[in-house]
């Protein structure tokens, strides 16, 4: 099961216009771990996520998924084991119907028609969206879109789930449903988020990013109790913990 | 200006369908060969952008009217001619199906008029030549405006040709041209200005976006020769089909230019409506066919005897139309060849 390990070694990335995305980042995430990536706007969360499946190739350092470093050669294998859910579901759902969208990944992996169909149905069932199968994406609500977006990734059965702001723009009920769903997954999960309450519910470990560097890495509950650290990183104690005096 | 099903004959619609289909096939083939597959979503989303952007109008001061950006030129500048043509074609298809702009049979005409001229004539021959490889604010502005105007003028001229050759409308050639071209000159200037301003905005905030289309590599990257061969072939087919059509159905090609000669004397009961209409007609008929008056009595008699009137001028006018199209094609051919020799 060694290929479920995510490891960053001294990772750095600078954008073409000169802004630093991330700076000398190192961490190791083992199989089945659920990790929250928190930090203020512009801390480098999204940049880091894009390295996880080779959307960006590091300028310095190395990103390893399992045993192989992420590079042009390993791209296909990496993308098969790392499933990425984007922040804006409209960007992720580009096909004419929900079925086509969920089937997009499996078809590109070269699966046969029957297998594709089976996977689509199973993925939609998992996220509780089976009834949406023939709908066009523009007719879905925000919560439904997010569920289907997650299904599109599940259909290729990745080992590692990477999510960018999964709870953004969701109403409280949809958000709660999503948290239950995430907790039911046994995948390794890496979730970038501003929703610290969700991080508290879903992730046992948290990495705090600040200006492209890691300022803390440890158990979620410990970090969120460290008010000085949170304030320094442009964050605030989750609401769920504020009531406790 | 969208061509409508109601105004064209099946022959014209069919020929333009073939021409547009050929171009779509050509561009699709080119797109398949393209290594950079990021253009696939880009084209779709920009097509949707054109749609949405054309719903936002700005007020033209002191006229009470409004304008919006043009489609073809901005697409060509952002995507290059092949991708732009496909995108424009898809925009027009959606418009035809959902908003009944044009129609199914006229779709070929519309794709050709509004896609071919900006993407394959105005963009490579005017915009690129003016802007060249060192874009500057002034060059982009001039290039985009002139190219938009020329593209639209050619498109409008084709609308006139297609309508006249179809013979459903009775507008005389001269009147039609004088009616359509100046209006489209005004529209072209407004659209060109808006297009140029938006392109400049993008160029100023993110110059790298316009780079791939302005660089020398892109110039050599596509060959206009293939497109041109296709166009010449299409026009030849058009010419042949039309002359066949002209001989088979003479009244289908009636050019009202010749018909108007006899109209004056044939006017119906002299009631108020008709006489006021006649004054109106005199106002709009800038170039009525009065020069042909010598034959008027003759044609009058003939028309009165048998209907539909077999006008002696018809086959003549078919010939003129065919020749005109061919001349235009040849002209474009010569210009392109000339340009090729320079590059």
């Amino acid at each position: 099961m060694s290929h479920h390990i995510v490891q960053a070694d001294n990772l750095s990335y600078t954008y073409p216009d000169g802004t630093t995305g991330i700076n000398h980042i190192s961490f190791k995430i083992t199989h089945g771990q659920s990790v929250a990536l928190v930090g203020a706007n512009g801390a480098g969360k999204s940049t880091l996520l894009l390295h996880l499946n080779g959307c960006l190739i590091p300028i310095e350092g190395e990103m390893k998924i399992g045993d192989s470093p992420v590079n042009k050669k390993s791209l296909k294998a990496v993308r098969r084991s790392v499933g990425m859910v984007f922040q804006n579901s409209d960007d992720q759902l580009f096909m004419p119907t929900v079925f086509d969208d969920v089937a997009f990944g499996p078809i590109n992996l070269g699966m046969q028609e029957a297998e594709v169909e089976k996977r689509v149905r199973h993925a939609l069932e998992t996220v509780g969206a089976s009834h949406l199968i023939h709908r066009p994406p523009y007719k879905l609500s925000g919560g439904e879109k997010r569920a289907v977006a997650i299904a599109t990734v599940l259909a290729t059965s990745p080992d590692i789930l990477v999510m960018d702001e999964p709870t953004s723009n969701l109403d409280p009920v949809s958000r709660r449903r999503l948290i239950h769903l995430l907790n039911s997954f046994e995948h390794t999960k890496i979730i970038a988020t501003h929703d610290l309450d969700m991080a508290l519910d879903v992730c046992e470990r948290t990495i705090v990013l600040h200006k492209g560097e890691i300022t803390a890495d440890g158990p979620t509950i410990d970090l969120f109790n460290d008010e000085q650290l949170l304030a320094h990183s442009g964050l605030e104690k989750p609401l769920g913990m504020q009531g406790v005096h | 200006m969208h061509m409508a099903d109601a105004l064209i004959s099946p022959a014209v619609g069919g020929v333009m369908w073939v021409a547009s289909a050929g171009l779509i096939g050509y561009c699709s083939k080119k797109m398949k060969e393209e290594v950079d597959n990021s253009k696939i979503p880009l084209m779709g989303v920009i097509g949707a952008f054109i749609f949405a952007a054309q719903m936002i109008n700005f007020t033209i001061p002191a006229t009470g009217s409004s304008g919006h950006i043009g489609g073809g030129m901005i697409l060509a500048i952002l995507l290059g001619p092949n991708a732009a043509f496909l995108t424009m074609a898809s925009v027009l298809t959606v418009q035809a199906l959902f908003f009944a702009d044009g129609g199914l049979l006229a779709l070929g005409c519309n794709i050709f008029n509004l896609g071919f001229f900006p993407c394959f004539v105005a963009y490579p021959l005017i915009y690129k030549r003016i802007v060249g490889n060192n874009p500057s604010e002034k060059l982009i502005m001039t290039g985009a405006i002139i190219a938009a105007v020329v593209g639209l003028q050619l498109g409008a001229f084709f609308v006139v040709l297609e309508t006249l050759v179809s013979g459903i409308s009775s507008l005389p050639f001269g009147t039609f041209v004088l009616l359509v071209q100046p209006i489209h000159l005004a529209i072209g200037i407004v659209e060109g200005l808006a297009t140029a301003a938006v392109v400049l905005f993008v160029w100023k905030s993110r110059p790298e976006i316009l780079q791939p289309c302005v660089s020398l590599k892109a110039v050599n990257g596509y060959s206009i020769k293939g497109v041109l061969v296709g166009f010449v072939a299409a026009t030849l087919v058009t010419g042949c089909t039309l002359s066949w059509f002209a001989s088979a159905h003479p009244d289908g090609l009636e050019w009202a230019m010749f018909k108007t000669a006899g109209v004056e004397e044939l006017a119906g009961p002299e009631d108020g409506v008709h006489s006021s209409l006649a004054t109106l007609q005199e106002k709009i008929a800038f170039l009525p066919g009065y020069g042909f008056k010598s034959g008027e009595t003759h044609s009058l008699e003939e028309e009165a005897q048998v209907w539909p009137a077999i006008d002696p001028g018809t086959s003549m006018s078919g010939l003129v139309g065919g020749l005109l199209t061919l001349c235009l094609t040849l002209l474009i051919g010569v210009v392109v060849k000339h340009r090729k020799a320079i590059v």
């Binding site: 993308r79 | 990021s38 084209m43 949707a48 719903m55 959902f98 905005f201």
Partner: protein, 289 residues
């Protein structure tokens, strides 16, 4: 609901609300026609290719009629009407949509009565000129062809029409392009309307969109669009996109489809070759005599 909102405000509010109304109306229109396509009648279930081919034959036949042959056009009305009735489509809505685009046809057609004033038909002491006849023929042709296109979309849905086109041999990049355009039409019209609304709310009643505001607004929209295209491409690549988009649709051109296409085409041919209203009139006239 939405329609009522747009309709009611169209005339009483300043320009910016009208802008909004057009946006919402357009979105609503497209969405509504797709909803119609979700119907379950036999016509809805027919293979899209059958409807596509029949519509094309219909349009060609109608357009091929001479410009004075109004009487021969009349029987063709049966096709869109039959589709509307047995497809359970809302007649009033489609009719309004046709009227909405009529001005263009009127604009071109209206010159015919002015220019072509040769008397063609004599009814009692009143004579009708060829120009008026051809004007009405333009209007009828217009109604028929536009109606046929609207019926096609309402019975089939845009996506299925595209899939049908692909099976009929339309190049794949073009079909993919159509599907992408359609998918993001909704997203972008929504985005454009939000931007226009933000502007108009700060314009405090002066509904005019000045050019110097128009340009950055459209420019921003374009930049956002380009960013979005990049993100979509990333999302595609993450799921193994390598330049080829596959869409599996099992379509069956079976007995029903053949019957539909053949029967209608034969009927159209019959309408085209025989002047049925005239023959019927003569028949009845002869009988009366």
């Amino acid at each position: 609901m939405r329609e009522r909102f747009t309709g009611a405000r169209l005339f009483i509010c300043p320009g910016y609300i009208k802008d909004m109304a057009t946006f919402e109306k357009n979105l609503f229109d497209i969405g509504y026609m797709d909803t119609l396509a979700l119907g379950t009648t036999g016509l809805h279930r027919l293979d899209p290719r059958a409807k596509l081919i029949t519509t094309l034959i219909f349009v060609t036949m109608v357009v091929s009629l001479g410009k004075y042959e109004i009487s021969m056009m009349v029987p063709f009305v049966i096709y869109p009407l039959a589709m509307i009735v047995s497809g359970e489509l809302p007649f009033g809505y489609l009719f309004k949509k046709i009227l909405l685009v009529a001005p263009f046809a009127i604009l071109i057609g209206i010159f015919n009565p002015l220019l072509d004033r040769q008397a063609l038909v004599q009814i009692g002491s009143m004579s009708i000129s060829g120009g008026w006849i051809s004007f009405f023929s333009i209007m009828i042709r217009f109604g028929l062809t536009v109606g046929a296109a609207l019926v096609l979309i309402s019975l089939t849905g845009f996506n299925s029409v595209c899939m049908g086109l692909e099976k009929l041999g339309v190049p794949r990049p073009f079909v993919v392009q159509l599907l992408f355009l359609y998918r993001y039409l909704f997203v972008l019209i929504d985005e454009a309307s939000r931007m226009a609304r933000a502007r108009s709310l700060r314009a405090f009643g002066s509904g005019r969109m000045q050019f110097k505001i128009f340009v950055p607004l459209i420019g921003q929209l374009l930049l956002r669009t380009l960013d979005r295209a990049q993100r979509i491409h990333l999302a595609m690549c993450c799921r193994g996109f390598d330049g080829y988009i596959s869409m599996n649709r099992t379509m069956k051109f079976g007995f029903k489809e053949i019957r539909f296409t053949l029967a209608w085409s034969l009927l159209f041919l019959c309408f085209r070759s025989h002047n049925i209203p005239l023959e019927m009139g003569e028949l009845i006239g002869g009988y009366l005599r």
